[in-house]
């Protein structure tokens, strides 16, 4: 089951500042929705534990997040792999950073989530709206983190 998302938003910081935050797994990981903990492996890789659940099916998943294909300061990109409750998922996300008219940075983002296994079988119809909700929360968290005075998480 593949789900693709894309969108854009503007933040009132420079591309360099945005890139610095988005390309650091230790800073990026806590922005993930239902974030529980992060174990940074190296400058490019981190194991992030997040809570997952659909209805009464609840558990946690470990996502191995790898910074991949980045182009400072205009592109930060991650690939991720995880397992949860007899299921597996692959994800890829990229942030293209462009100067925004009137200052700040325009962040164009794409997300690609592919799920396999029991979770899709048991709750396939629910995953798409839940994923959409989580993506919206992630985007909101990134915006907040890149806005001076915005609420920080983690």
């Amino acid at each position: 089951m593949g789900i693709q998302f894309e969108g854009e938003f503007t933040v009132p910081v420079s591309r360099e500042q945005a890139y610095a935050m988005l390309s650091d797994p230790a800073k990026f990981a806590p922005l993930l929705p239902t974030y529980k903990s992060v174990e940074v492996k190296d400058a490019r890789t981190a194991d992030v534990t997040v809570a997952v659940g659909v209805g009464k099916i609840k558990g946690s998943a470990v996502i191995t997040l790898t910074l991949q294909g980045e182009e400072p300061p205009q592109r930060a990109a991650y690939s991720g792999k995880g397992k949860v409750m007899g299921s597996a998922f692959d994800m890829a996300t990229a942030f293209d950073l462009l100067p925004a008219e009137g200052g700040g940075t325009l962040v164009k983002w794409t997300g690609d989530l592919t799920m396999f296994g029991k979770l899709v079988a048991l709750a396939g119809g629910l995953i798409r709206p839940l994923a959409k909700k989580d993506i919206e929360r992630l985007v909101g968290a990134i915006q907040a983190a890149l806005t001076p005075g915005g609420a920080a998480r983690g």
């Binding site: 089951m1 597996a88 296994g117 029991k118 899709v120 079988a121 048991l122």
Partner: protein
């Protein structure tokens, strides 16, 4: 023939309705281990690494098995197909690579079911994902190959051509072209999922209690697979909650339970499948695509020729396949008299659950195809559906089809007349016309179909000439036991069909006693010596093979009893008669009160034999009879021969309305007419018709095994798969006619699969309802979402074309 044709109450029900049946999962004992199977979440992936340490360390876990251990102790299962199928390494567990979602990658045997499941969660498997192919036509491109050693996904291809196809098209008055049709994937989902208990004994044999429905075949695969002799496998079944063919290949899981028992030091290991596992990894029905279909007709609307390309999707392993590549040809022309046909048939593997023989196996796909052709031609040529059928039905029997099958008996026009009467055809014609004027999407459809019973396994040689299979057989052993009771053992594996009752009726008729005096042992047991390679319950054959074996054994027992009674009563054998007297069942001298009862005879042979004459030395009152239908090996070059013995027929008519608001199809009326020759037990036959009809309606309107593009099964729970329930089954008006088969001793024809009649009928009724909206029904699944899609984009322009040739008459 006093009991045949009587609705004797089912003997099995006494225990089943009281909750005293014994299904495999009912068997429990202290120390028994429970097996959980860890299954692949991926449809196609390499297994990079498996770490089982954490699972093995969990207290209560007896053992964990991975593919590598299984491969070290097993031989790949025999493949039926010719090359490249022989290159497919079919083991009960994935070793280096998974090829469908749900394929086993490890098993855990533990003290409880929950513990085994928890431990399986601790097994760490690293996969490298590969491209999945889920559509048959994509698979044939070989862009991503499932079984690399085979070098291709194509598992079989052959052309079935009969008559003068080119000539018939050249002379046709009209040609109807249908570029694409599709028969969807579903299964019959028996009430009791697969289950088995295995014990690898200290003597090196394996004891199985299971619900496999074709143990004669399972034993031939399992024994070499487990590196044992066939006699080292003791296979038993008892009560089985439905099979519909789906349980034929649970031998794969029986192997896993056996190997787990072996590793656990011989402890009994039980595995009971969950519903999701069943949907994911147990076996689906064949999915088939029909391409480039062309139909030649004469100027009267008689079909003179059909040519088409069929692609069958058998899922990830061939296993029982590619038998489906020939079994459909048992019903090549369906119920129609056309003589010219060319079908180019190809089968491919895909990254989906392997297929199994599913109720109506492979034939219903062909019957649906033919019924769609008939209906589409009727609609496009403006011929009423009933008239179209009457123009084309076979009417003379026995009838040899173009490929050499012999339809034993039938009367399809009479069935149509009866069906029309049952449903109220004329009244519905008026109501439909009025409804359409009011804007309702309402239609009536006919499905005529065949339930071919008693396979000639020689047809397997058409797909692989080197297979050592042909004919068919079934066994019955029968004895007068030490107390004088008639004890019958069957080689079949009843799963709700009432074999104990029907067999009792046959024995009672032979011996002139009451069926209640006959004890038919429940289940199947290799230890009874009541089995051959063909033994089991499948292919609508019990009424012929099973009951012929019972009848033969009863005749043998009767002959021995007659000799014994003649000696003891000092009478000529021809002066004796069988019946029931004051002391129970007996043999007596006609017109006298001289009689000997069954107890006395049994005691003579078993306890008191010094009283017997030497000439009776061969009388044991313990007989075995093997019934063999009169088959020949088919001509494999021409793909010609009699592939099955009897042809029960079904004719269904339905009135269906599709809601304009919700697109939900609603059955407004349903009639089912059945002809299975002489009825043995009308109540049981009626129940079978009701079950098959319900299954078919469910498959047509609700049930679909849907995969996404990466090979995820999206309908792996009953919430999504939506099996039919009592709440969705419409009232069914049932009727039957009897055209006795000349090929069975009792005139009966095997039945129970129903030929998928409701699928054909629903497609026809929905076609009739939606034709005015520009829709041609080219699929077999008619759920509300699919009907919504098709109503959004009426397809008539691209789904069918008609070429009319003025002046041509057509040649039949």
């Amino acid at each position: 023939m006093g009991w045949t044709g009587t609705s004797v109450r089912r003997k099995e029900d006494d225990r089943l309705v009281r909750g005293r049946g014994l299904f495999t999962d009912d068997e429990l004992e202290p120390g028994m281990l429970h097996l959980h199977i860890l299954r692949s979440p991926y449809a196609h992936a390499r297994i990079v690494r498996i770490d089982t340490a954490a699972a093995e360390a969990l207290p209560g876990v007896a053992c964990v098995l991975t593919g590598r251990e299984v491969a070290a102790q097993c031989e790949p299962f025999m493949q039926i197909g010719p090359p490249p199928c022989d290159k497919i390494r079919d083991l009960p567990m994935a070793v280096d690579k998974v090829v469908f979602q749900g394929e086993p990658v490890a098993v855990v045997a533990a003290a409880t079911v929950a513990l085994a499941e928890d431990a399986a969660q601790l097994i760490d498997v690293e996969y490298e994902m590969l491209e999945a192919v889920v559509e048959a036509e994509d698979a044939l491109s070989d862009r991503s190959i499932l079984h690399e050693a085979a070098g291709t996904n194509r598992t079989w291809q052959g052309v079935f051509e009969y008559g003068d196809v080119e000539g018939a098209f050249r002379d046709a008055a009209s040609v109807v072209r249908i570029p694409r049709m599709k028969f969807h994937r579903f299964a019959s989902t028996p009430l009791e999922p697969n289950a088995c208990i295995a014990e690898w004994t200290r003597q090196g044999s394996v004891e199985f209690l299971c619900n496999n429905s074709f143990p004669g075949f399972a034993q031939q695969l399992l024994a070499p697979g487990l590196r044992l002799k066939a006699d080292q496998l003791h296979i038993r079944t008892y009560d089985v909650g439905g099979s519909f063919g789906n349980k034929i290949w649970n031998y794969v899981y029986m192997a896993l339970a056996a190997l787990a028992s072996k590793k656990a030091g011989g402890r009994r290991v039980k595995w009971t499948e969950t519903r999701t596992e069943h949907l994911l990894g147990s076996g689906h029905g064949n999915e088939r695509t029909y391409l480039d279909t062309e139909v030649a007709l004469d100027r009267d609307g008689v079909i003179t020729a059909v040519r088409s390309r069929h692609i069958d999707d058998c899922g990830a392993y061939t296993r029982y396949e590619p038998l489906g590549c020939v079994i459909w040809s048992q019903v090549l022309p369906a119920t129609y008299k056309l003589r010219n046909m060319r079908i180019d048939f190809t089968q491919t593997v895909t990254n989906k659950c392997p297929v199994v023989p599913n109720r109506g196996y492979s034939r219903m796909q062909q019957l649906w195809f033919m019924e769609r052709i008939v209906d589409i031609c009727a609609h496009e040529l403006g011929i009423p559906a009933d008239e179209m059928r009457l123009k084309n039905y076979i009417t003379q029997f026995p009838y040899e089809t173009p490929n050499g099958c012999v339809y034993d008996s039938g009367n399809y026009p009479a069935m149509l007349a009866k069906g029309k009467e049952l449903i109220g055809w004329d009244r519905w014609q008026r109501e439909i016309a009025a409804g359409r004027k009011a804007g309702r999407l309402i239609g009536i459809g006919i499905g005529t179909t065949l339930d071919s019973g008693t396979n000639n396994f020689g047809q397997a040689r058409i797909v692989n000439p080197f297979l050592p299979f042909s004919g068919n057989s079934e066994v019955c052993t029968m004895r007068l036991d030490i107390e004088g009771a008639v004890v019958v053992c069957l080689g079949t594996t009843p799963s709700g069909q009432g074999h104990e009752t029907s067999a009792s009726q046959v024995v009672a008729d032979v011996l002139g006693i009451d069926p209640s005096m006959v004890y038919v042992r429940p289940g199947f047991d290799t230890a009874w010596n009541t089995f051959v390679g063909h033994s089991g319950t499948y292919a609508s054959q019990f009424a012929v093979t099973g009951l012929s074996a019972v009848h033969g054994a009863a005749q043998k027992l009767k002959a021995e009893m007659r000799r014994l009674a003649a000696f003891m009563l000092e009478a000529a054998e021809e002066d004796l008669e069988f019946g029931t007297g004051a002391q129970g069942p007996e043999v007596r001298v006609k017109g006298t009160d001289k009689a000997i009862n069954y107890w006395y005879m049994a005691n003579l042979v078993n306890n008191n034999n010094a009283m017997l004459d030497e000439s009776l030395g061969d009388v044991t009152l313990n007989v075995r009879h093997v019934y063999r239908p009169p088959f020949k090996v088919p001509d494999t070059e021409r793909k010609f021969g009699n592939l099955t013995l009897t042809y029960a027929a079904q004719l269904h008519i339905a009135v269906v309305e599709v809601s304009r608001e919700t697109c939900r199809p609603q059955v407004l009326a349903y009639a089912a007419v059945d002809d299975c020759g002489t009825l043995i037990n009308p109540q049981i036959a009626h129940g079978q018709v009701h079950g098959a009809t319900s299954h078919g309606i469910g498959a047509a309107l609700m049930e679909c095994l849907d995969y996404d593009e990466t090979g995820n099964l999206l309908t792996a729970t009953f919430s999504d798969y939506c099996p039919i329930t009592a709440l969705n089954i419409p009232d069914i008006a049932w009727g039957n006619i009897e055209t006795p088969s000349p090929f069975s001793y009792n005139g009966a024809k095997g039945m129970g699969e129903g030929g998928g009649a409701p699928l054909h009928t629903m497609s026809a009724a929905i076609q009739d309802a939606l034709h005015g909206a520009g829709v041609i029904v080219t699929g077999s699944h008619h759920s509300a979402p699919r009907l919504f899609e098709i109503l959004q984009q009426p397809n008539r322009d691209e789904a069918v074309s008609v070429e009319r040739r003025g002046g041509k008459q057509g040649r039949r």
